[in-house]
Amino acid sequence: MEVNNHDLGQPQQNSNIVHNSLPSENLSPQQGIQSSNHSSGNTHTLEAFAYLFMFITLYFVSAAIGMILHYSAEKFFPPLGNPGGDAGGLPDIFSWFVLDVIGSGYGLISPMIPYLATLIVVYPFFAVLFLWVNKRKLEDPAIRKLDIRKLFLYLTLAATFIFMLYKIIYLVMNLLTGNGSLNFLSHFSITASINLSIFLYCFFELREDKKFNA
């Protein structure tokens, strides 16, 4: 299958794809015209938008999964003392968000419902966009150089790294002060694993970019 030939990190065999991947200044005028249809900045507008939306949907999906798991943890590992706030329970800002923003006007609903709805609606978009941008990236490696892609990868990498650092400091602080309850640890594990997954995805993408450029 053509797709298998384009596996990440593998030399591109298809001549058409090689043309598309080369910088236009190294091509003949004829080839340059052909390649400009694919590799110039203007023709990658669709891919740029796809990356933008993919990262937006990634944030929505990760937040929704995180909140559903946090609420589940709150149910299965109830806090021993005062729930909520920084005691290991759910962050106040999310309670406020659910109660006053999303939950407003719906009467009595479980706070998990808005996040379930978010996941049901946004996840298919994320999955389709994820597959499409990666397929396009393999077909046309020039997409790896898209500014918006790099920007989001670095921003997400930095944000997840800082947040993980904050969470680890918070974990150590709680352990040192004797607040390492099961409730707290479960919340920490959820946040850390989601953050770590996104961090690793961005990290490996950037590492592959480096390999590819080399």
């Binding site: 797709v3 909520g84 006053d100 479980s110 597959l131």
Partner: protein, 273 residues
Amino acid sequence: MRKYYYFIGIFTIFVILIIIGGIAQTGGPNSARNIKLDEERINNFRDISYEIDEYYESKNSLPTDLQVLMQSNPSAARLNLSDPESKKPYEYKKVSNITYQLCANFSTDSKEIAAEYDEYDYYDRYSESKKTHPKGYHCISYEIDDLGYDKEIDNYDDDTPNINISSADNTKRRSHVTQILNAIGAYAADNKGILPVAITTGEQEITEYQADLCNDLVPNYIPALPQDPVVGDNEITDCNITYDTGYFVSKDSNNRVTVSAPNAAGDKITITR
């Protein structure tokens, strides 16, 4: 490309499991619908009991049936007297001169629901109703003046709260506490007896970070939140900035609201309605 397909395949299974688990925990659409139906029933009961209070105030007796109540005044004509699910009329039973019952076929057990939602600190709006019910047919008893916020406000001058006035500031504090209580009462009267969500059973200071009443009350029910003379003696009109009134608020299990001024000279000023 294959690895991306594998990744998204495994991730999709994970997401589906989360969605199934989440729906199982929330009870699904049917459970949510049942809760909403009961909430509507309780809200209808509140409206009816409020109108019965009004009727009693004007006629000094309870209506013989709900149709009589509907014809008594224009606001009562807007009452919803039918069950939202079965569309059958609610049952009204006159028990004594000041006691009556409203009956319906409830879809959930309020205690079970309250226990579940308390975990999220979210079921306040329901438990505030102080009307618990089992699943199935149940009658809720009411007494005249059960939700009589208006009467309490009107009769406030007759109240003899335990207030120790020992300075001019304390006079101001008493006035502030009264203003806050009036505003909360007016809010509840406009919202079918439901108190602002920020008021909890635990005593909290009226600030942006604890009992945040500013958006609920200002400017519709009070032009500005008053501030304790010790804290600043300003008038809080902008709810978007950090504020601190120096006054505390709480409610008890019977929905009686207490506003207090702990900075008062001498004894703490506390008024409960």
